[in-house]
Symmetry: C2
Subunit: 136 residues, 2 copies
């Protein structure tokens, strides 16, 4: 089995938060929404149903674990979960905390406007809270 290789654009647009059983948990470099991404560490996969059944179950488990933690930390109105991949084909799942009145609410976040980078202390605090919620 060859080492996992992350797509270049995903690497550029996100930062590693933690490594779970199957996925890399990453944060988008965009402070407009609390926006996370799960990337299964499997090369050459595009669709969720390209994964083996056990990996499909793991991805569901990790997505729901991260979604629960993100809702706890943010108090969001709704968690948005999406696997699109029209631009970057490497399989990845978005997990985003949405709240009434946030940018483009109630529309989708993808393709909307320009990313607004985090100020480092705010990103550090968010990641700290997230990891705490994930481990509790």
């Amino acid at each position: 089995m060859s080492a996992f290789e992350l797509d270049e654009r995903l690497a550029r647009d996100t930062e590693l938060v933690s490594t779970l059983g199957l996925c890399q948990l990453r944060i988008l470099k965009d402070s407009r929404w609390p926006w996370l991404m799960l990337v299964p560490q499997r090369n050459g996969k595009t669709e969720i149903f390209d994964l083996k059944p056990l990996d499909q179950a793991l991805l569901t488990f990790e997505t729901n674990m991260v979604g629960t933690a993100l809702k706890t930390v943010t108090g969001a109105t709704k968690i948005n979960i999406g696997a699109l991949g029209n631009i970057v084909r490497q399989l990845h799942v978005h997990v985003i905390a949405r709240s009434e009145g946030d940018p483009n609410w109630p529309g989708p976040i993808w393709g909307f406007g320009q990313a607004v980078p985090y100020e480092q202390p705010r990103q550090d605090e968010f990641i700290h809270q997230l990891l705490e919620a994930l481990s509790s």
Copy 2:
């Protein structure tokens, strides 16, 4: 256990295709994309992680089964899967076949333009092919 009640807006915007183990499989009344929806037949659920673990696994199984069939039938470039629910809170999962050059490609479909109703024979043929792929 009380009878499952479908949200009024989902009922208006979609038609029933088939009932799976957990979900209603429905088709959107919008011919711009081959666009399906899975609605777990559980009242009062908003997030995927509100479902019991067995139902989460079933939803994953049914989503991937439908995604696979949809890709087979359409030959789409990419299947888009999303659970947003910012407008309609009853838990529902979108499964959409996307192809290069389709409306708003490679952006998301949600919130884009106006629905274009199917001509009945085209919808009938699509559903026929889909059910055939699901049963094979």
